[in-house]
């Protein structure tokens, strides 16, 4: 509805609404959302993308209680919004300083849309951000690894795991000083059992190991470094466009069959949260 009001046709509105809410990123136009060139549509999409990037359980609670309190109690919400807003401002400044856009507001508009789109793993693009100074799109891809909440439709590590890993890192530092101290890892006021911290650490390590391995596989098959690395990140996070040869200005058709299969596998790995797939490869799974 909001999209229609902002000026899309009904057909476009439905297509883009589906792609936004699932944080998918297919569009009916090659130029993606850049086709409409309308700040209003971009604004609407940003809002809905952020909504889709939050935990749907929180939305459900808020809906049932008819209040905004659940959002306050969800530690991820603070993390997601804080990180996205800080990054938007930072990258806008950076891109503006680098002279890509003459005006700060233009920079802010393009940066917020593309950054939110990539960070939430949606993958729409309103401009070819591949031509920005390389730091900006790389940062956006990094965000796509961590930003989406658990229970949202986004991909990547999920915000809650990121928060936990950070807390765990800090805890280990404190342990260096007070080896005997018992320091629980806390998220939103609750102590997290060590067992879970453990499992999450193993998950993060698998995630990183997968990225490294897949990147090396693509490199061996002849892709250049930035394309290979960004394609793997974009696929494992289910974000969509990578950089360079697979950037928002082009598509994945430039890859050969082998590379396309590798990336298809990577997307599944990412969506099924790695472990579901890897466990199939252990001997214990098939025994008895």
């Amino acid at each position: 509805m909001a999209l229609k009001l902002a000026g899309m046709s009904w057909f476009d509105a439905i297509c883009h609404a589906f792609a936004t809410m699932s944080l998918g990123g297919f569009s009916t136009h090659d130029a993606s959302v850049g086709y409409f060139d309308s700040p209003l549509i971009e604004g609407v999409l940003i809002v809905f993308m952020l909504l889709a990037a939050l935990n749907f359980v929180t939305h459900f609670l808020a809906y049932r209680q008819r209040s905004l309190m659940p959002y306050r109690h969800d530690p991820e919400v603070v993390g997601v919004l804080g990180l996205v807003i800080a990054s938007c401002l930072g990258i806008s400044l950076y891109v503006w300083q680098a002279g890509v856009y003459p005006e700060f507001l233009t920079a802010l508009r393009h940066v917020s849309f593309n950054l939110v789109s990539i960070a939430t793993d949606c993958g729409f693009a309103s401009t070819d951000f591949n031509s920005w100074p390389i730091f900006a799109p790389m940062w956006m891809l990094l965000l796509s690894c961590v930003t989406a909440s658990s229970g949202s439709t986004g991909g990547g590590l999920k915000m809650i795991r990121t928060l936990l890993m950070l807390r765990q890192g800090v805890r280990e530092l404190e342990h260096q000083l007070h080896p005997a101290a018992l320091l629980p890892v806390k998220i939103g006021g609750h102590a997290v059992p060590n067992q879970i911290v453990f499992a999450i650490q193993a998950f993060v390590m698998m995630y990183i190991a997968t990225i490294v391995t897949m990147t090396l596989v693509l490199l061996a098959s002849g892709l250049d470094f930035v394309s290979a690395f960004s394609a793997v990140i974009a696929c494992i996070n289910n974000a969509g466009p990578g950089l360079n040869e697979v950037g928002p200005g082009t598509n994945y058709a430039g890859l050969n069959d082998f590379q396309t299969w590798v990336l298809a596998f990577t997307m599944l790995l990412g969506r099924l949260e790695l472990i579901t797939v890897f466990v199939l490869f252990t001997r214990a799974f098939w025994r008895g």
Binding site: M165, L173, H175, P179, F198, F203, M205, L216, F225, V279
Partner: protein, 485 residues
């Protein structure tokens, strides 16, 4: 202030001792009359005097060291010694900026081997000796650091290696145990170095070159007296000698020490890392050889094997010599070599990276989590060799890895934001953090780090220290908690 006085007191002694290190290049400079001897006179005087002054000033604060002091001491030694090591470089080359000189010295003492200097062949021999002597001294420091100091401080699951250290670890005081462990390990280190010098000389190097390269190889540093690195000699014999000694230096020195004391090779059988070390390296070298042949980069097998073997071993063990510009190989090969450098070196070796033992533990832990998914109530232990690893240590190792990866990502971003291309920033940071030396792209083996601007050079110096001090040691000193009473 009273908190850091005892640390300063020890630092002052280290400084006075360190001033003696300049004697070797001084003697060589006088012997060969290369015209650089004034630089060392100056360095000896300044270093010794400032050590003596600090010693007098901090005499009051003498007391037994605690864990907290340990962190500070390690960080101070590794940041202050490079400061004094720059003196001969700055004095002989007035054009060199302090930033670059400090980078060179940090790269020396952390045994990284990255350089900002070119025209190495034209430098006085004594300056080249000094550059690699820094490696060698740094290597001595590293061995003690990783075998004796870090396990005691409990850095990144290092407690795991306590069992392997040669002296009993019951005593809780810092100094006596460290001294004894250190002595034993240094004897082994020195003996192997002497063999390395002799072997290189017998293989056809001049005395000076043999000395320079032996220092570099044993500490897995990577500076050379030639711009073309080992490629200058173009000799298969010398390459084989370097490979053998690089492999020796890539194995834990406490294992060498055990073997040396027991006069048997059995000690190597009990070292879990060694099997993986040789296994992974062997397979990788063969794989890369075939890859380079397949890509048509080399035409016959022996030639491909020669270049693949030397450069892979050199980069993977974090030595960093090169016999060819592997930057122009198809990207996969050098990136894979850098990837190896992040975990191949043994836990008590002079190499860098996360170390083989942590990599094995990581692999086992991930496997354990998968088994637990299939059998949720099963109790599965992580074992290294025959030892069960306590959960607490696995924890610390996982946190270590997280910090390792996070540091690489953050530092790469900083370099990328400062204007370097992604490929160069990423490989430079990996090469710095692993203390390897040459990166790829603009900082590949055929070029130097001189193209970086001052800010980037400082980031790189920080990255080298971070990697060498195993992250936690340096980071913990930077936390506010550390300075609170």
């Amino acid at each position: 202030m009273s908190q850091i006085l005892p640390v300063v007191h020890i630092l002052s002694k280290v400084l006075m001792l360190f001033s003696a290190a300049f004697l070797l290049p001084l003697a060589i400079s006088l012997g060969l009359e290369d015209g650089a001897h004034l630089a060392y006179d100056e360095a000896i005087a300044i270093t010794f005097l400032s050590g003596a002054v600090l010693w007098l000033l901090s005499r009051q604060g003498k007391r037994e060291l605690q864990t907290r002091d340990g962190f500070l001491l390690v960080v101070m030694i590794w940041t202050v010694l490079p400061l004094y090591s720059t003196i001969p470089l700055l004095s002989y080359m007035p054009d060199l900026s302090f930033t670059d000189a400090y980078f060179e010295a940090v790269s020396g003492l952390t045994a990284t081997g990255a350089t900002v200097l070119s025209g190495l062949d034209g430098l006085p021999p004594s300056i080249n000796i000094w550059r690699t002597l820094m490696h060698w001294i740094g290597g001595m420091g590293v061995i003690v650091l990783v075998v004796a100091v870090l396990p005691m401080l409990g850095v990144g699951g290092r407690q795991l290696f306590k069992a392997e250290t040669p002296t009993p670890m019951k005593d809780s005081k810092l100094t006596p145990r460290m001294a004894e462990t250190a002595k034993g390990l240094w004897v082994v280190y020195a003996i192997v170095t002497v063999f390395c010098i002799l072997a290189l000389w017998a293989g056809g190097m001049s005395w000076v070159d043999a000395l320079v390269h032996a220092f570099s190889v044993m500490s897995l540093g990577g500076m050379s007296s030639h711009d073309a690195s080992m490629g200058y000699f173009d000799s298969v014999t010398l390459e084989i000698i370097v490979m053998v000694f690089a492999l020796i230096a890539g194995i834990s020195f406490s294992t060498h020490f055990m073997a040396f004391r027991m006069r048997s090779l059995l000690a190597y059988r009990f070292d879990t890392e060694i099997r993986w070390f040789f296994g992974v390296l062997g397979i990788s070298i063969l794989g890369l050889t075939f890859y380079l042949l397949y890509k048509g980069f080399y035409l016959d097998f022996p030639e491909a094997l020669r270049y693949a073997a030397f450069n892979t071993i050199s980069v993977a063990t974090t030595l960093g010599f090169s016999t060819t510009d592997f930057n122009i190989w198809p990207y996969f090969a050098p990136l894979y070599m850098l990837f190896l450098s992040s975990f191949i070196a043994g836990s008590g070796s002079t190499g860098g990276g996360i170390k083989m033992l942590r990599a094995i533990l990581l692999y086992k832990q991930v496997y354990r989590e998968l088994i637990k998914l299939v059998h949720p109530s099963a109790i599965v232990h992580t074992k290294i060799g025959t030892q069960t690893v306590p959960a607490k240590i696995t924890y610390a190792v996982l946190a270590f890895l997280f910090i390792y990866v996070a540091s690489i990502i953050i530092l790469s971003f900083i370099l990328a934001a400062s204007g370097l291309d992604v490929f160069t920033s990423f490989t430079a940071v990996v090469a710095m953090v692993n203390n390897t030396g040459p990166g790829l792209g603009q900082v590949g083996p055929a070029s130097t780090y001189a193209i970086l601007n001052d800010f980037q050079i400082w980031v790189c110096s920080f990255a080298m220290l971070l990697g060498r001090l195993e992250f936690f040691t340096l980071l913990v000193v930077l936390t506010p908690v550390f300075w609170r009473k």
